[in-house]
Each structure stands twice: as C-alpha cells, then as structure tokens.
C-alpha cells in the first residue's frame, strides 16, 4: 500500500477508537480518506485551496484541544504558507502534523509548479520541527502513532510511488531520524524518500543511511559514518540546502574531513522547458537508478 494510504488508514482506526483527531484539507482527498469522510464528516474540514488558512485553522483547532492532521498538495503548504509554518509551527511550537501529497519529482508531469523540490531545503532552515519522508510503510504507520502519542510540529512528504515495508516498526525513531542498512563499508550513501527506498532495495556493497526524519540526531549520525572515507548523498530535490548540505554542515562543524559527493537536482541548463516526467528528469540530472548504482559500485572499486 502507498505510504500516504497506510498513514490515513491508521488515522481512521485511531479516530474510530476515540482519539480526538481532525483532518483539515486544502481541497485534496484520497481513496484512503473516503471512509474517514463518510464516518466522521465533522472531523474532516475542508478550507478550499487556501494553504495559508490551512495552517492557521489547523493551529487554532490544535489550541482548542484537537489532534490535527493538515493535508495539502505539495509544495504549497511550504512554499505558499511558509510564513505561517515558521510562526505557528517553528516559533510557537503548535504541534500539528502537516502532511503533503507528492515529494520531489513524483508529479513532474504537472510541471515545475507542482514539484516540491526545494521544500526540504526551506524547512531545514527552521528549528523545532520535524521533516518526515516516509520511505516505507512502517514509518507511515509509526507516524500515525506519533500524531497521538508524540505531538510535535511535523511536516510530512508522501511520495506516491513508495509502497512496501523495508523496516521493523521498533527501529523507527523520529528523534534519531535515520536507519542504516546495507554492508559495512568505508563508503556510506545517505538519502531520504524515494532515493532511500530504491537504494535500500539494491544489494549495494556500502552502508545505506535513510534519513527519514530531519533533523537527525547528529551525534548518532557521526557515530554511524565514523570510519568512512567517502559519503555519497542522493536526493530527489535540489542539491542546495538539501541532505548533502546537511552532511557537510555536520562534518564541518566538528572538523571531520570526509569527502562528500552530493547528488541532487542542479538545473544547470535551467528549469525544464519541456513536458517531462520523473524518469526523464532523473536521467538529465544524473539521478537515474542504474546510473547511480554504477557510480556507487565504481566508487567501491576505488
């Protein structure tokens, strides 16, 4: 099942069991929300295509005692409503969960307007909130638990092409923020979202670190990459300010010298001026899976 639908099914079950949850939508639904809307019509609030109001109304509801899941089409809850995000979530610490459909280039067919490729970089500039990129169903399920049990300002990006389970529920920890699989190696690949999901499934001779919740716990992250000689960061988003930047900042702040190769969207030829999709974009930007795999294996060969 897609990660978004896993999450909403869990939210449905919790509401059915009496949790005081409301979902606030900016004119977006999902098949997995149909039951919720039918059975809890008063708990599904639609503000229309109005992301600024989505954040403000959700915050008011939370202060009135509700557990709030806001649901919007990415990139708009961040790019249109960034001021509300920074004031209400980051500064005032109102613990709403803002979920967004689409991550990175998964809706590239709709054009640049609908690619939330800068959102992670923008949100990384804010303290006191979590940026969650569910790369498997266990994370999505645990996230629904967190809405009820660990209220915190969270921004969640659901990639519509991620489904299936990679991790054990007990290994998911949103404060730690990452999970490591793969093989012991002096090379670590650091990714999130669809890139982590894909790379985890390849049998690569390297460590693969999935940073599904940012900010990561830095000391634990350092321990994880200690002994590595090279880090490759891979993201389906702009390289500027993304997870590659995160790795460089953590290393630089501690004076640790490990070579970092950052793979991400660069748009060196400008923004796409053609009808495109994720696969074509990845090929143009050197992010296609086959190319990435070959590049990583080549690094391993020295």
């Amino acid at each position: 099942m897609k990660v978004r639908d896993v999450f909403f099914h869990e939210i449905y079950k919790k509401t059915k069991h009496g949790e005081d949850i409301v979902i606030v939508s900016s004119d977006i639904g999902a098949p997995s929300l149909d039951d919720y809307r039918r059975d809890f019509p008063n708990r599904f609030i639609n503000v229309g295509i109005a992301e600024q109001n989505l954040l403000a109304v959700s915050s008011g509801l939370q202060l009135a005692g509700k557990k709030v899941v806001a649901y919007a089409l990415n990139p708009f809850p961040v790019t249109r409503a960034f001021d509300q995000v920074r004031n209400l979530m980051a500064s005032l610490q109102i613990p709403i969960t803002v979920t967004a459909l689409n991550a990175g280039t998964c809706s590239a067919e709709a054009g640049y307007t609908h690619m939330p490729i800068e959102n992670l970089s923008l949100m990384r500039t804010l303290r006191n909130l979590q940026i969650v990129n569910p790369s498997d169903e266990a994370i999505a399920r645990k996230l629904a638990d967190a809405v009820v049990e660990e209220p915190y300002p969270r921004y969640v990006q659901f990639d519509k092409y991620i489904e299936g389970t990679l991790y054990a529920a007990e290994d998911i920890n949103f404060r730690k923020g990452f999970i490591t699989n793969g093989k012991e190696s002096t090379i670590a690949v650091v990714a999130y979202g669809i890139m982590a999901h894909q790379l985890m499934k390849l049998d690569l001779p390297v460590k693969v670190i999935d940073c599904y919740s940012l900010p990561v716990q830095e000391e634990e992250f350092i321990q994880e990459i200690e002994g590595c000689t090279k880090i490759v960061t891979v993201e389906d988003g702009v390289a500027d300010g993304g997870i590659g930047s995160m790795a460089l900042e953590i290393l630089n702040d501690r004076g640790i010298q490990i070579s970092v190769v950052r793979k991400g969207l660069r748009f060196r030829q400008g923004y796409p001026n053609i009808f495109t999709n994720r696969e074509l974009l990845w090929q143009e930007e050197g992010l296609d899976l086959l190319g990435l795999e070959q590049e990583i294996r080549k690094l391993c060969e020295g």
């Binding site: 503000v47 109001n53 403000a56 109304v57 008011g60 005692g65 509700k66 209400l88």
Partner: protein, 272 residues
C-alpha cells in the same frame, strides 16, 4: 456593564498614559496603533470577555486573537489594569534582554497568539472557534484586525471559511483607522465598500465609532445570545494616534515613538 462610561473614558486616558510610561522608556513601540485601539481593547477585555486574572488558564475562558501584533503594546497596560500582569513583571519583560519566556507564557495561553506577521490571526481565530463548536463548549473567540492588515490574502481565505462554516462564536473587530504605514487605505488600494465585503462572505456586520464606549459596548451587548448562525464583524472607525493630536491621522507615523524632549511633549499633549 461593570464601569460607568465616565470611568471607562478615564481608563482610556490612564491606559494611554501608562503606555507612554512603559514604551518611551524602552524607546520602541507602535504608539499610534496602540492609541487607535485603546477603547476597543478595554471594551473587549474589561467589559465583554470572560477573561480575568482568575481564569487565564481555564480552558473555558474566552480567547482574544490579536492579529495586528503591532498593537500588542496596549495589552500591557490593560493586562496590568486587570491584574494579569504586575508592574514589576512588565518592567522585567519590556526591556532589552527582558524575559521573553515569561512573556510567552502570558501571551499563550494568555491571549493565544502573538501576531505581527499580519494576516495569520483570523484563520487561527476561526480554527479556535470551530474547535469550540466541535468540543460543544461555549467560550467565544474575539479577533482584532487592522484595516490595512486586510490587504493580506490570508484574511480573505479565513473570512470565506468562517462565513461558510457559520462560526457565530467568532467576533472580529476591525480597527478601521484608514491608515497603513505609508498612506491612507483608500489611496493605496480601496477597501470600501468594506462592510459589504464582509456581508458578502456571510458575516453579520456592525459599524461603530471605535472610540465611543457607548457604541462599542452597544455593538457587543448580548454577544453570547445572538440569534444568528453568522460570525460578526464590528467595523470600528478610529483615529490612528487618538489622544495626541500632533500624531493623529498622519501617514508615516506607524512606528513613531517619542524620544528625548518629545516625551514630555507627549505627556503634556495627551488628551483625556
């Protein structure tokens, strides 16, 4: 009504004077805005809302969302008058290096929210009002907006939402002083016919003199027993800088704070 009109007008003078004491010492603040909204805040906080020193943490208290955050300064004298803040606490807070944590505790849940990033408050007030309805609780939400704040698109998003959802436990007061920072609203981009715009979004409206307690309290009378499903917008005509004629109704006085010899002049010219 707890106090006579005479007492209330005297209170207006005292609150403006106290504002001068607090903020000329700091050397920063939004005097003209504070003086524009003085009667509105007193009418709401002292005479209308179920909000007092004894219930600041009670979940059934009424909420005030001060969306025009540059008007927050006048809350300090009014909160002091209500016994919510002491003089000593204000002195600790309103200074460079003042304890912001304490302020935050008072702002939130004291008045829910600090505005200042204009346009956010009305949506938040609407969310609170909807939350009260979903909880089947009877507390009310009051929201103070600036008229020039209403250029923000988020205000119109929230206006549509509150009208559509029949949030009759929500009362907005617009401080209609006809001034932004740089110019009069009707020169920048006409807001009129302002009242009709609220009506068209399914709001009840009232237009009053925002410096007249007779009119403000008349509009707020019976606010808990209105026989309507609509939210209410009270458009309160005011004068930015009211009480100090030499600052009143002038563009580019938005962030003005008297300094040096101007401070004495401000006290001497302050009108009751």
């Amino acid at each position: 009504m707890g106090q006579s009109y005479g007492q209330l007008y005297q209170k207006s003078y005292e609150m403006r004077k106290r504002f001068l004491e607090i903020f000329t010492k700091l050397g920063y603040g939004h005097l003209t805005t504070a003086f524009s909204e003085t009667e509105i805040l007193i009418a709401l906080l002292s005479e209308t809302m179920n909000f007092h020193a004894g219930n600041v943490n009670d979940k059934n208290r009424d909420r005030l969302v001060l969306s025009k955050g540059h008007g927050a300064g006048m809350l300090f004298p009014v909160f002091e008058d209500l016994g919510i803040l002491s003089k000593e606490e204000i002195e600790e807070i309103i200074k460079c290096g003042g304890d912001f944590t304490k302020t935050r505790e008072l702002f939130y849940p004291g008045f829910e929210f600090y505005g200042g990033s204009l346009g956010i408050g009305l949506g938040m007030a609407a969310g609170l009002a909807m939350g009260a309805k979903l909880n089947r609780e009877d507390w009310m939400v009051f929201c103070l907006l600036g008229d020039a704040e209403c250029y923000e698109g988020a205000i119109w998003e929230a206006m549509l939402f509150a009208g559509h959802n029949r949030l009759n436990n929500l009362v907005v007061v617009v401080d209609r002083n006809y001034l932004g920072c740089s110019d009069f609203t009707e020169n920048m981009c006409e807001l009129e016919p302002f009242e009709e715009k609220w009506k068209s979004c399914n709001w009840d409206t009232k237009a009053v003199d925002g410096h007249s307690y007779e009119e403000l309290l008349g509009a707020l009378e019976g606010i808990r027993s209105r026989r309507t499903s609509k939210p209410l917008c009270i458009i309160a005509d005011t004068v930015k800088g009211k009480g100090l004629d030499y600052l009143s109704n002038k563009p580019l006085m938005h962030g003005f704070m008297p300094k040096g010899e101007e401070v004495c002049a401000a006290y001497e010219n302050l009108k009751g």
